[in-house]
C-alpha cells in the first residue's frame, strides 16, 4: 500500500503545473501604414462627476499627425454629440464650430430604448464620428476569410481600390457610420474587456475624390496608472486604379 501511496503522490506532482507562457511571443510585420492614436481618457475617480466616462475627445484630419482639436468633458472645449432627438439636444447630429476635421474620437449619446419596468433608457457609446460638413462617405467591409490576426493585417495592407470595387459596398454619410462597432465589449469580466474588430475595413470617400482605407488596430482598455484608453487606427490613401483614371 505504501508503494501505491507513493506512486499516487508522484503522479499528483507530475501531472500539474506544466504551463509555460514564453512560447506565446509573436513578432509583428510592419506594413508602413499611417497611424493615429486618440486617448479617450477613462475617468476612474469615484468622486468625479464623470466617473466611468471617457472624458476626452479628439478631432483628427486624415494625413495629419497632430490632432486638429482636443475636447475635455465638462469644459467649453467639449462638443456634445447626440444621436437622440430630445429637447436638450435639438440639433440632432449636432454640428460643431470646430472645422478642418474628418473624424472625431468621442463619447456620445447613441440611442434611447424603451425598457419594460424602467422607462426610457439612454445608451451612450464611445466611438468615431465623421464630419458631415465635409461630405465624407463611408463604406464598411467585413473581412471574414480568416480569423487569424496576422492574415487580417496583411489582407488590409494588400487591399487595393480595385478590390474595394468588387465588394459593392453601400456608402453612407451618416455621422455614426463608423460609430462604436469597431470594438465589442465583454461585460462579464471586470474591467470590461474590449476586443477590436480589426477585420472591419472602412473605406472613406472624401469630397475631393480621395479614397482612404482605415481600420482600428487597438483600443487600450487597460486602466493602468494613467487611466488612458487609447484607440489606434491605421489608414492609407488608396492609389486610384488605372480603370478609374
Amino acid at each position: 500500500m505504501k508503494k501505491v501511496l507513493f506512486a499516487f503522490a508522484v503522479a499528483s506532482l507530475g501531472l500539474g503545473f506544466t504551463s509555460c507562457d514564453d512560447d506565446e511571443k509573436i513578432t509583428p510585420i510592419d506594413y508602413g501604414m499611417k497611424t493615429f492614436e486618440a486617448d479617450y481618457m477613462y475617468d476612474t475617480d469615484e468622486e468625479s462627476a464623470y466617473y466611468g466616462n471617457h472624458t476626452q475627445q479628439t478631432f483628427m484630419k486624415l494625413g495629419e499627425e497632430e490632432a486638429v482639436h482636443m475636447g475635455v468633458m465638462g469644459d467649453d472645449s467639449w462638443t456634445d454629440f447626440s444621436m437622440v432627438a430630445d429637447p436638450e439636444h435639438e440639433d440632432y447630429n449636432i454640428s460643431t464650430n470646430i472645422t478642418g476635421w474628418d473624424l472625431a474620437f468621442t463619447h456620445y449619446t447613441a440611442m434611447q430604448v424603451e425598457y419594460p419596468g424602467y422607462g426610457l433608457y439612454t445608451v451612450t457609446a464611445s466611438g468615431v464620428l465623421i464630419n458631415t460638413e465635409e461630405g465624407i462617405e463611408v463604406g464598411v467591409y467585413d473581412y471574414t476569410d480568416s480569423e487569424d490576426i496576422t492574415t487580417i493585417s496583411s489582407a488590409f495592407a494588400d487591399m487595393t481600390l480595385a478590390d474595394v470595387e468588387t465588394y459593392n459596398l453601400e456608402y453612407s454619410s451618416d455621422i455614426a457610420t463608423i460609430g462604436y462597432g469597431w470594438k465589442t465589449v465583454d461585460t462579464s469580466v471586470t474591467p470590461a474587456l474590449y476586443t477590436v474588430n480589426s477585420n472591419k475595413f472602412y473605406i472613406l470617400k472624401m469630397n475631393n475624390g480621395d479614397v482612404y482605407k482605415l481600420r482600428f488596430v487597438s483600443f487600450q482598455t487597460f486602466n493602468g496608472a494613467d487611466q488612458s484608453r487609447i484607440a489606434e487606427c491605421e489608414y492609407a490613401l488608396m492609389e486610384p486604379t488605372e480603370a478609374a483614371e
Binding site: P28, Y115, Y118, T187, A192, V217, F222
Partner: protein, 753 residues
C-alpha cells in the same frame, strides 16, 4: 426479539440515533474515568437475518447505569464482548451503516445470544435536522427530505456541492464561466433555493444564485435536500427548496484525524486534512484543504480557456460543548478562491488582458441548544463576509511585458443572522409547537453599488403548531410575520400534513405562501462603463408566491427484496418573478419583474434493494414552466422538460468493495428571455451524465479508496439556440462539464480514544 424501542422516549431515541450516525470510524474502547472496573462481560454475536451472515464492524455502545458509555466493534465473526461492572443494568445500542439501529436493555441479553440486526436498505433510519428541533428519522419528518450521505458523496468523486447535485432528481445545475454553478429546483431558479451550512445561510449570491462549486464536500456528514417550501421557518429563498449541509462533528474520540487526497485526470488535485481533539464534554475541530484545477482548453488556437484554472484554499476551526441537555459552540471558517481568466488576443497589436478573480469568504457561526422536560431551545447565529475582487495585467504578445492593474473590489456583502427556535410538546404525542425569531441583516458594498452602500433588514416571528390528530395523521399549520426594511412583507403561512395511511404507505402534502424581497444587488447594483451599463432596478417589486406539494411513499418488503416507491407532484406560482434581461441594442442588462411565472411537475422514483448488497433506483421527472413572457410570445401552455435518472450500487460485504453507477438524462429545456422589447425563445438541448466508481476499504475502514470515471459519455457542452419570432437567430454552447475524467480518492482516518 424484543427491543426497548417502544419504551424509550422519542428524544432519547433520536439522541442515540444521532450519536450512532455520526460515527464513521471503527476503533472504540471504554471512556473517561473508571471508578468501577469493568470486570463482567457478556459475549454476543450479531447477524444479518436475511442471510445469517455475521455483521462485521458494527458499533455497539453500552450506556451503564452510572452514566458511563462503553464502545465496542464487532469482529469478523460478528462477535462482540459487552463489558460492564456490577449489576447487569444498562442500555445497548447497535448500529452499522446500512442497518437499522437497534436498542436493547443489557439485562435482556443472555451470554452467547445471537442478535439479528435488520438491514436498512434505503437509509430510512438516517436522521435529519433541517426544520426540526430534534434529530428526526427521515421517514418521520413532516417534510419531504432527501439525504445524500457521506458514502454517496465519496463514491461520486464529488469535490463540491455542484458536482454531487448534478445527478440528483428535480435539480438542474448550470455552469457559468464567471458566475459559477447555479441551481434550478422544481422549475424554480436558484434565488428561490435556500442553501445553508449547519443552518446558517450561505452569503454571496451572484445574479441571485449561490455558487455551489464553492461549497466543499470533504468535511460534510450529509446533505439534506428538502423539496418544497420552508419559508415559514427560513424565510425568503426557501420556497422551492432548502439545501442544508451538515458538517461532521466529533463527540467520541479523544483524538480523531483524517487526511484525504483526490486526483482527477483533467488536472484537478485536492487535499484535505482535519483533526479533532476532545476534552471531557468539549471538542475542538480543525480542518482545511487546498484544491488546484489546471483548467481545460479544447481549442488551443485561441487563448480563451474552456474551463478556467482555479485555486482554492479553505479552513475551519470550531469548538463544541455537548452534554445530553446542553450544547453550544462556535465556528470560524475561511474560504478563498482564485480564478484565472485568460483573454483572447484583443486587437491587431496582439494585446491581451488576463485577470485573476478572487472570492473570499469569512464565516462566523455560533449555536446553542438546551433541552429540558418536553421543551427545547435552539439558537443559531451567523456573521458572514463575502468579497469578490480582481486584478490582472495587460501585455502585448509582441514583448510579453506585463502591466499590472491594481486590485479592485467589485462586491462586498455581509450578513448577520440569528434564528432562535423554541419547541415544546404542549400535549406530548398530540400537540407541539415550534416558535421562533429569524433576524437577518444584509449589507452590500462596492464601488458599483448605488451610493456605495446599501442595507436590507428582515425581522420575523414564526410559529408552527403540530397536531397529531390521530397517531398516524399529523397536521402542521405555520405562520410567519416579518418586517422588511424596504418592503411591506406579507404574512407568510404554510400547512404541512403527513398521514401514515398504513405502516407501509404514507402521504405528505403542503401548501405555502412565499415572499422574496429583491436582493440588494438586484435593487442597487450599478455598472457603468463607456458603452454598457448594468443597473439594479430600484422599482422592482417583491416576489410573491404560492406552492403546493404532495407525495406518496410506499414501502414493500418481501424476504430479502425491498421496494420503495415515491410519487410526487408540485405546483408553484410566482407573481413578479425577478429576472435579468438584456437591454436592446446595447451591452446593458437590467433586472425586471416577470408579472407571472408558474412551474409544475411530477416525479416518480422506484428503489429496489436486494438484501443490503444491491440497490437500484430509477426515476422520471416532468417539469413544466410558463411565464407571462412566454405568453406574450404566443405560448400559453407549459413548456415541459423531461428528466430521467437511474442508479446502481453493489456492495460486496466480505471484500468490502462497492460499485456505484449513476445516470441522469436532463431533457431539452425551453425558455423565454426578454431582450429590450424583443422576446427570445431559447432552447437548450438534452444531455446525459453518467458516473461510475469502485470503492474499497482497507485496515478496518481506516483507509478508504475510490476509483472512478466521471461523465463517461464525455459531455462538455450542449447547444443553446435562440429564436426570435420563431426564426433561428443564433446559438451558443452552454458548458456542462469538462468531459470524461478519471479520479482516485484516498481517505485515511485515524482515531484514538
Amino acid at each position: 426479539m424484543k427491543t426497548i424501542l417502544d419504551t424509550m422516549s422519542f428524544k432519547s431515541r433520536a439522541y442515540w440515533v444521532l450519536i450512532f450516525f455520526s460515527v464513521t470510524s471503527v476503533v472504540f474502547a471504554q471512556a473517561d474515568v473508571d471508578p468501577n472496573p469493568l470486570t463482567n462481560q457478556c459475549l454476543i454475536q450479531l447477524i444479518d437475518p436475511a442471510d445469517k451472515e455475521p455483521l462485521v464492524g458494527a458499533h455497539i455502545c453500552v450506556e451503564l447505569a452510572d452514566g458511563r458509555r462503553v464502545y465496542e466493534v464487532s469482529d469478523t465473526e460478528g462477535k462482540v464482548k459487552l463489558l460492564y461492572s456490577g449489576e447487569k443494568v444498562g442500555t445497548v445500542a447497535i448500529s452499522s451503516i446500512g442497518y437499522v439501529t437497534t436498542y436493547m436493555q443489557l439485562n435482556e441479553i443472555e451470554d452467547g445470544a445471537i442478535i439479528p440486526v435488520k438491514a436498512d436498505v434505503f437509509n430510512i433510519n438516517q436522521v435529519v435536522v433541517t426544520g426540526t428541533s430534534e434529530p428526526t428519522p427521515v421517514d418521520s419528518s413532516i417534510y419531504k427530505v432527501k439525504v445524500i450521505g457521506e458514502e454517496k458523496i465519496r463514491q461520486s468523486g464529488s469535490v463540491n456541492l455542484a458536482e454531487i447535485l448534478l445527478t440528483e432528481a428535480n435539480i438542474r445545475i448550470e455552469s457559468d464561466m464567471m458566475l459559477g454553478s447555479q441551481i434550478e429546483m422544481l422549475g424554480m431558479s436558484g434565488s428561490n433555493v435556500k442553501v445553508m451550512i449547519d443552518g446558517v445561510p450561505v452569503v454571496g449570491r451572484l445574479n441571485g444564485n449561490i455558487d455551489l462549486s464553492q461549497i466543499n464536500m470533504s468535511n460534510v456528514k450529509q446533505i439534506e435536500v428538502i423539496e418544497g417550501p420552508m419559508s415559514v421557518i427560513y424565510g425568503s429563498n426557501a420556497l422551492a427548496g432548502t439545501i442544508n449541509i451538515i458538517t461532521k462533528k466529533n463527540n467520541y474520540h479523544d483524538v480523531s484525524a483524517q487526511v484525504d487526497a483526490f486526483v482527477e485526470s483533467v488536472g484537478r488535485y485536492s487535499g484535505n486534512g482535519s483533526v479533532s481533539k476532545r476534552l471531557g464534554n468539549s471538542s475542538v475541530n480543525l480542518d482545511g484543504g487546498y484544491e488546484y484545477f489546471s483548467g481545460v482548453d479544447y481549442d488551443e488556437s485561441s487563448r480563451l480557456m474552456d474551463w478556467r484554472p482555479k485555486k482554492i484554499y479553505r479552513g475551519n476551526a470550531n469548538y463544541q460543548y455537548q452534554t445530553d441537555h446542553l450544547s453550544f459552540g462556535g465556528k470560524v471558517g475561511y474560504y478563498s478562491d482564485q480564478l484565472f481568466v485568460q483573454s483572447d488576443i484583443l486587437d491587431a497589436k496582439y494585446n491581451v488582458s488576463d485577470s485573476y478573480y478572487y472570492t473570499d469568504r469569512l464565516d462566523f457561526a455560533a449555536n446553542l441548544a438546551h433541552k429540558w422536560g418536553n421543551s427545547s431551545i435552539d439558537v443559531v447565529a451567523g456573521y458572514n463576509l463575502y468579497e469578490r475582487s480582481s486584478d490582472g495585467y495587460s501585455m502585448s504578445l509582441t514583448d510579453l511585458e506585463k502591466t499590472w492593474r491594481e486590485k479592485v473590489i467589485s462586491q462586498e456583502a455581509s450578513q448577520f443572522m440569528t434564528r432562535a427556535i423554541y419547541s415544546t410538546a404542549l400535549i406530548p404525542g398530540k400537540l407541539s409547537l415550534q416558535s421562533g425569531v429569524d433576524i437577518s441583516s444584509e449589507t452590500f458594498e462596492g464601488p458599483r453599488v448605488v451610493d456605495q452602500k446599501q442595507q436590507l433588514g428582515d425581522y420575523a416571528l414564526f410559529l408552527n403548531m403540530n397536531f397529531a390528530i390521530t397517531p398516524s395523521f399529523e397536521v402542521q399549520p405555520g405562520i410567519r410575520f416579518a418586517y422588511n426594511t424596504k418592503y411591506d412583507a406579507p404574512v407568510v403561512y404554510s400547512l404541512n400534513t403527513k398521514w401514515n395511511i398504513r405502516s407501509d404507505l404514507s402521504w405528505r402534502a403542503s401548501f405555502a405562501r412565499g415572499f422574496r424581497a429583491p436582493e440588494l444587488k438586484e435593487l442597487f447594483y450599478e455598472f457603468i462603463d463607456s458603452n454598457h451599463e448594468i443597473y439594479g432596478n430600484s422599482d422592482l417589486e417583491a416576489e410573491s408566491s404560492y406552492n403546493v406539494n404532495t407525495s406518496f411513499d410506499y414501502k414493500l418488503q418481501h424476504d430479502i427484496h425491498n421496494w420503495r416507491f415515491n410519487v410526487a407532484a408540485y405546483y408553484n406560482t410566482v407573481d413578479n418573478l425577478i429576472a435579468l434581461a438584456s437591454v436592446a441594442d446595447s451591452d446593458g442588462w437590467q433586472y425586471y419583474n416577470i408579472s407571472e411565472y408558474q412551474s409544475t411537475g411530477t416525479n416518480i422514483d422506484v428503489n429496489y434493494g436486494f438484501k443490503n448488497n444491491l440497490q437500484l433506483r430509477l426515476g422520471y421527472g416532468l417539469t413544466g414552466r410558463q411565464s407571462s413572457v412566454s405568453e406574450e410570445s404566443g405560448y400559453d401552455e407549459f413548456n415541459f422538460s423531461h428528466d430521467l435518472f437511474a442508479g446502481l450500487k453493489w456492495k460486496e460485504r466480505k471484500s468490502s468493495v462497492t460499485l456505484a453507477i449513476d445516470y441522469k438524462y436532463t431533457g431539452e429545456i425551453q425558455d423565454f428571455q426578454l431582450s429590450g422589447d424583443v422576446i427570445t425563445e431559447v432552447r437548450q438541448e438534452a444531455y446525459q451524465i453518467m458516473n461510475a466508481s469502485a470503492s474499497k476499504s482497507f485496515f478496518k475502514n481506516k483507509l478508504q479508496t475510490t476509483l472512478g470515471v466521471k461523465n463517461i459519455l464525455d459531455v462538455t457542452s450542449v447547444n443553446r439556440t435562440n429564436y426570435v419570432g420563431g426564426a433561428h437567430s443564433g446559438g451558443s454552447g452552454t458548458p456542462i462539464s469538462y468531459g470524461r475524467s478519471f479520479f482516485i480518492n484516498l481517505i485515511y482516518k485515524f482515531n484514538k480514544l
